[in-house]
């Protein structure tokens, strides 16, 4: 371990940064510093001001007041070019790689090495990439096209790309938000390796366990101001303290679900096969029950629920609802038979980003809930208003385009459109991914509410605390089939991971 020298000058220091948007302070005087080789974690709820602060650093935003010191030199504001020149680089949350180009090409896109005639020196770039890959201990062929890489490898490429310009300050924005436990661990390890090379890292994440593991210091911001900065030398910073700081009041990290009486079998799946050679899947879900689908990313959890609701075709098997055999060929059939499918990836699958909240919420309900052939959108709000208020969706109005809402509120809109039509079987696929704690709590409350009404829930999730606290039973999916079932006390993080990874069942 390299010791961080806090007596030296910090490599980066932001002094009393203020930034306002039309009169509202997004940042109200933030002071934040970073030392050479340090991992400084920045946490806060969505909308707390993390992204705004980082945009000030990247030069996208000009602060209203305050100063930015980089290696002792003070600046009033940075521009994107200046920020780069000073060695500040960002690994963004979104994927900005070119899918049809290979690893090397992606790393050097916009920054190609050329000879004196202006031709690209591919071999040199390849060798340099190879060296980086080895140095960081990653397994990857630099000539693979991005579209053929796994999500975690793509994340590595993004990091490699950021490193290729030899930054002094590296900002990582939720680098593990799309990952399972295993891949996240790889990214964490890589982050440490990079910091040991003397690069200062600002690490933004919602996963407090991660932060506890890797942070040298943790700064919590709320409503555009720093709440606290903690040392984390012994990797033992109490998570409860951080969450309290984040939301401004104590929260239970584990949601306390009210126990519901479990009724008769509502959904019965028998010998469901997605493809000819895939495993047969059979399970039941009862009224008032929440069944968790655990498993690694890519284990086939999403595929199973997509086949159930008609989003994908299936090869064989039987689905019974309330004992009656149903045929589901497309999502329309699925909806008719009572399925609600809160899909993963709200932006790509769940929303019309450039349409209003109102239009988004009523899109499915148009079919049966709203009567008649001719309609008038102006008359919809009364249908939707109560729902939006109940879910506490923060939106300027029902006519606001969904794209302007925060992640948590967007996700609530997705839920609202399915609550609007009152289905029987609710399927949640990664319902709380990338949303803040308060929005999560709202989701758990709604799920409890649904089971109370005798509806049933299938919840695909990679969030362990959520799986453990919400599920009555957990089915562990591996290689496209059900590998095991856990219930009651047996639902523990350890059991789930063991099963999901395929560790021998009775090795003890």
């Amino acid at each position: 371990m390299v010791e961080i020298d806090y007596n030296n000058n910090p490599i980066l220091r932001m002094n009393q940064i203020k930034k306002e948007f039309s009169g509202v302070y997004a940042l109200s005087g933030i002071t934040f510093d970073l030392y050479r080789g340090e991992i400084h974690c920045l946490v806060g709820e969505n909308g707390a001001g993390k992204s705004t602060l980082m945009k000030v650093l990247s030069g996208a935003y000009r602060p209203a007041s305050g100063s930015i010191e980089v290696e002792g030199k003070s600046y009033e504001t940075l521009t994107p070019n200046l920020s780069k020149e000073l060695g500040i680089n960002i690994v963004y949350q979104e994927n900005d790689l070119v899918a049809s180009m290979n690893v090397v090409e992606n790393i050097y896109v916009g920054n190609e090495k050329v000879n004196r005639f202006g031709f690209v020196k591919f071999k040199e770039m390849l060798e340099e990439t190879q060296r980086q890959i080895e140095e960081l201990g990653i397994q990857m062929n630099p000539l693979t096209k991005i579209e053929n890489l796994s999500v975690s490898d793509q994340q590595f490429v993004k990091i490699l790309k950021a490193l290729s310009v030899e930054p002094k300050v590296l900002i990582m924005d939720e680098p593990t938000s799309m990952f399972n436990v295993e891949d996240a661990a790889k990214v964490l390890k890589l982050t440490k390796t990079i910091s040991e090379k003397g690069i200062g890292i600002i690490y933004i994440s919602h996963f407090l366990n991660e932060i506890q593991q890797i942070a040298d210091r943790v700064t919590v911001i709320r409503d555009g101001a720093v709440v606290n900065t903690y040392q984390n030398k012994n990797r033992d910073i109490p998570i409860a303290t951080i969450t309290t700081d984040m939301v401004g009041r104590p929260v239970d990290t584990f949601y306390q679900k009210e126990k519901q009486p479990i009724g008769e079998v509502l959904l019965e799946v028998k010998d469901l096969q997605l493809k000819k050679d895939s495993p047969k899947i059979s399970f039941q879900v009862r009224k008032g029950e929440i069944v968790g689908f655990a498993g690694m990313v890519g284990a086939g959890r999403t595929e199973i629920v997509r086949a159930l609701t008609g989003a994908d075709s299936k090869y064989g098997g039987e689905i019974r609802i309330n004992g009656r055999k149903v045929e589901i060929r497309n999502p329309g059939d699925g909806i008719r038979e009572g399925f609600a499918h809160i899909t993963e990836d709200r932006q790509k699958l769940g929303l019309m980003l450039h349409n209003s909240v109102l239009e988004n919420v009523t899109i499915i309900g148009l079919r049966d809930k709203i009567k008649g052939f001719f309609i008038q959108i102006k008359k919809f709000p009364p249908y939707v208003e109560k729902l939006i208020t109940d879910l506490r969706v923060k939106t300027p109005s029902l006519w606001t385009e969904a794209v302007y809402l925060s992640g948590g509120n967007q996700q609530k809109v997705v839920l609202a459109k399915w609550l609007f039509i009152e289905q029987e079987i609710y399927i949640f696929d990664e319902p709380t991914r990338g949303i803040d704690i308060n929005a999560k709590a709202e989701f758990y409350k709604q799920m409890s509410g649904l089971t109370k009404q005798g509806k049933c829930i299938i919840m695909v999730s990679s969030d362990m605390p959520e799986l453990i606290s919400m599920s009555d039973r957990v089915l562990v999916i591996r290689d496209g089939g059900i590998d095991g079932e856990l219930a009651g006390e047996a639902i523990t993080e350890q059991n789930i991971i063991k099963q999901a990874l395929g560790v021998k069942k009775y090795e003890e």
Partner: protein, 315 residues
């Protein structure tokens, strides 16, 4: 409601302002421009392109596009003319022409929805097919309608308003009602907004695409009648350029290539703007070649202007 109002400000109010400004300026130079007769002429001039713009706008909002609408119109017209000249049965001719156009639209829709290819390329191809068909049927000759549509082309209500004006208005109204007041239309908007989301929301995507392309085909056949009524004849290459003009009018009116966005009223305003500009230049006796340059420049300006907000947004 706030956001809806700002949206209005962005697109349609801006357009109306530009139109009024141009009308005012031209009227000052030549008062003849705002004579009722000339204003009616403007609408008469945009009647064909207006109907095609409605078709194009609906497709663009649905996330599609159809570059064959010009040739669908021509093919439909040629079929009508052929039947009139051989049998003299106008009703039959109109029916056959409409069915032909609807079938052309449905063909586009089926291929696009099933193959999931880019509609732009598919309709470029089908456009050639329809053009070829029209050439084959007409033998490349000018096809006469023998005055069959004179009632539409020449009749004027109260001796002032030509019938075709009402046809145009009716088609605009029909498309407005389809897109804004029917479940089908709202779902078409949803389809254009996010096709995957629409599919998962239980919307039968393939069926809806076929229907909307079919409707566009129907609009083309109505445009064919108006077109033929004005000059009592049609040729196979008469449709050239209509698809791009319709596209331009729609885009100027705030309809986007990305789908899910845009309004019928906006597209219609876009159409009026183009009509006003071209008529104004005639009145001001601008040379034809120069007219083309100016039209192009105005289109670029209008599109850039209507995109100013987006440019700001990305900053």
């Amino acid at each position: 409601m706030k956001n809806k109002l700002t949206f209005l400000k962005d697109q349609r109010i801006l357009l109306s302002f530009v139109i009024v400004a141009i009308v005012a300026i031209v009227a000052m130079i030549n008062p003849r421009f705002i004579a009722v007769k000339n204003l009616i002429t403007i609408f008469q001039q945009i009647s064909v392109i207006g109907i095609l713009t409605m078709a194009m706008s609906m497709l663009l909002i649905s996330g599609g596009i159809d570059l064959s609408i010009g040739n669908i119109m021509v093919l439909s017209g040629v079929v009508m003319a052929q039947i009139i000249s051989t049998s003299g049965n106008v009703a039959l001719a109109v029916l056959a022409g409409m069915i032909t156009a609807i079938l052309c639209g449905v063909l586009n829709g089926v291929v696009i929805a099933k193959s999931k290819c880019i509609p732009l390329i598919i309709t470029l191809g089908t456009s050639q097919m329809f053009y070829g068909l029209a050439l084959t049927i007409s033998g490349g000759r000018i096809m006469s309608f023998g005055g069959a549509f004179n009632a539409i082309g020449k009749t004027k209500l109260f001796n002032v308003f030509p019938v075709m004006l009402f046809v145009l208005m009716a088609m605009v109204l029909v498309s407005y009602v389809i897109m804004n007041r029917t479940k089908f239309g709202r779902r078409i908007v949803a389809l254009g907004g996010n096709e995957k989301n629409a599919f998962l929301s239980g919307i039968p995507v393939v069926k809806y695409k076929v229907i909307i392309y079919g409707i566009a085909g129907f609009f083309c056949s109505v445009a064919a009648i108006i077109f033929s009524a004005r000059i009592d004849s049609i040729t196979a290459n008469a449709g050239t350029g209509y698809e791009t003009n319709a596209l331009t009018a729609a885009i100027i009116g705030g309809v986007t290539f990305d789908g899910g966005k845009g309004t019928i009223s906006g597209a219609f305003l876009g159409c009026i703007l183009m009509g006003v500009i071209s008529n104004a230049m005639n009145i001001l006796q601008v040379e034809t070649y120069i007219q083309t340059i100016i039209t192009g420049a105005i289109i670029v300006c209008a599109v850039v202007l209507s995109n100013l907000n987006n440019m700001k947004k990305n900053k």
